[in-house]
């Protein structure tokens, strides 16, 4: 989605125009397009670019190495439109995340959700999902320190109802 600003210039007088966008930093330089017929100026800029956090962010509750890795991703990912650069940035962040303990990844998911960065959210959520996938129920409880609040009968009833998932 792109935003469009249309300015009309009075043909007789010259006006100086100051443009202000609400606080989002953007790497894209909007180029004005002048329509000679009605002297209107159209400026289009890519919304996507303004969502990228190209300024380093501070992440609460993680160590400096993790914060650096995330910022490196944001910098690389936001710096280029080239598919290969963005993919490299994602792969680097992905390899880093795979080596972190689950507590860190959970913190990062919360962070990504708070700052509404959907690329980061997708990567971190996928990582949490990968940790959960193919594990037994006991292992999942242990990893996340979750107490089992089912009675044995309740738990068995659920296992019976969906036995295709719990057998072999």
């Amino acid at each position: 989605m792109s935003q469009t600003v249309v300015l009309e210039q009075n043909a007789v007088e010259t006006q100086s125009i100051t443009l202000k966008f609400d606080g989002c930093s953007s790497d894209a330089n909007p180029s004005p397009i002048v329509n000679p017929e009605n002297q209107s100026i159209t400026i289009k800029f890519d919304d996507q670019a303004s969502n990228h956090h190209t300024i380093p962010v501070s992440i609460p509750n993680v160590d400096s190495e993790t914060e650096a890795a995330v910022n490196e991703f944001l910098r690389k990912h936001g710096s280029s439109d080239e598919e290969s650069v963005r993919t490299d940035a994602m792969n680097d962040l992905w390899s880093f995340i795979e080596r972190q303990e689950i507590g860190t990844v959970v913190v990062l998911v919360k962070f990504a959700s708070d700052v509404k960065n959907f690329e980061l959210l997708e990567i971190f959520c996928q990582r949490v999902a990968d940790v959960i996938a193919k594990k037994t129920v006991e292992e999942v409880r242990e990893i996340f320190n979750i107490a089992n609040d089912f009675t044995p009968e309740e738990e068995q009833a659920i296992r019976d109802e969906h036995r295709w998932a719990f057998e072999d």
Binding site: A129, F144, I146, W164
Partner: protein, 252 residues
């Protein structure tokens, strides 16, 4: 493996007393739990970031792992059983299948129930009358059948649409008009199932009139096949039929 005698970590935690009695793996688990406790916040994803993000995470899981999540805790059950995640799983399950079970299409059923019922019905190898009635069946002779029949069979002639047969609730069987093999004689069918004392199936077959009985098999795409040494029936895919096909109840 962790030495089960090591208890000296000086934390003064009440868990220390129980360490000495546990096996090596359990000590490791308790250590991880303590590490999690030492953080200022819970590590349970659902507690940390709530339903919406949890749904996002669960959405990435395969169906089996998602089903396992149901049992982790009550709150996990709440989010892991929601239609939001199982809707997509149902679509993926039914894609490419020959038939969709009627019991999974009942109005008001949760998507999770629809999924489970579908999976379990897909494993059923015992055919029921509803299966015979609800599908159209492709019919052809096998190579070992008499030449007279093979010559009339479009399957072997390579010309014309394949023969079809239809099973009706009054016990009769019919064919398409213009079917070269169909004699127009009265035809009936029976399904025979016998059980052993432990509930497993002893014998199971379908017989048309007095022709040799046909053995039944289920295909990977949930389609049916019935055959003897003379001929073979295959259920024709009808996954687009509204309301699904087959029995309305789960059978074994």
């Amino acid at each position: 493996m962790v030495n089960q005698n090591i208890v000296e970590d000086g934390s003064g935690d009440e868990d220390d007393d129980s360490y000495a009695k546990l096996s090596g793996t359990k000590v490791w688990v308790l250590r991880e739990k303590k590490r999690a406790k030492n953080l200022d916040f819970s590590v349970d994803p659902l507690v940390v970031f709530g339903w919406d993000i949890m749904l996002l995470i669960l959405d990435h899981l395969d169906a089996r792992s998602l089903a396992l999540s149901l049992v982790v805790s009550r709150t996990w059950h709440g989010v892991a059983s929601s239609d939001a995640v199982w809707s997509k799983k149902c679509e993926e399950l039914w894609a490419g299948k020959a038939h969709v079970p009627r019991m999974s299409q009942i109005k008001g059923l949760s998507k999770l129930a629809a999924y489970s019922l579908s999976v379990m019905d897909g494993k059923r190898s015992r055919i029921l009358k509803e299966d015979l009635w609800d599908h159209s069946w492709e019919f052809h002779f096998k190579k070992s059948a008499p030449g007279y029949w093979l010559n009339l069979d479009p399957y072997w002639r390579g010309m014309g649409p394949l023969m079809r047969r239809y099973f009706h609730s009054d016990g009769s069987q019919t064919a398409d008009p213009g079917d070269k093999v169909w004699g127009g004689q009265e035809c009936c069918y029976t399904i025979v199932t016998s059980f052993l004392a432990d509930g497993t199936i002893r014998e199971h077959y379908v017989r048309i009139s007095r022709w040799p009985q046909m053995s039944i098999s289920r295909k990977q795409d949930w389609g049916w096949k019935m055959s003897n040494h003379l001929y073979s029936y295959s259920s024709i895919p009808d996954a687009d039929k509204k309301g699904g096909t087959g029995p309305c109840f789960l059978a074994y």
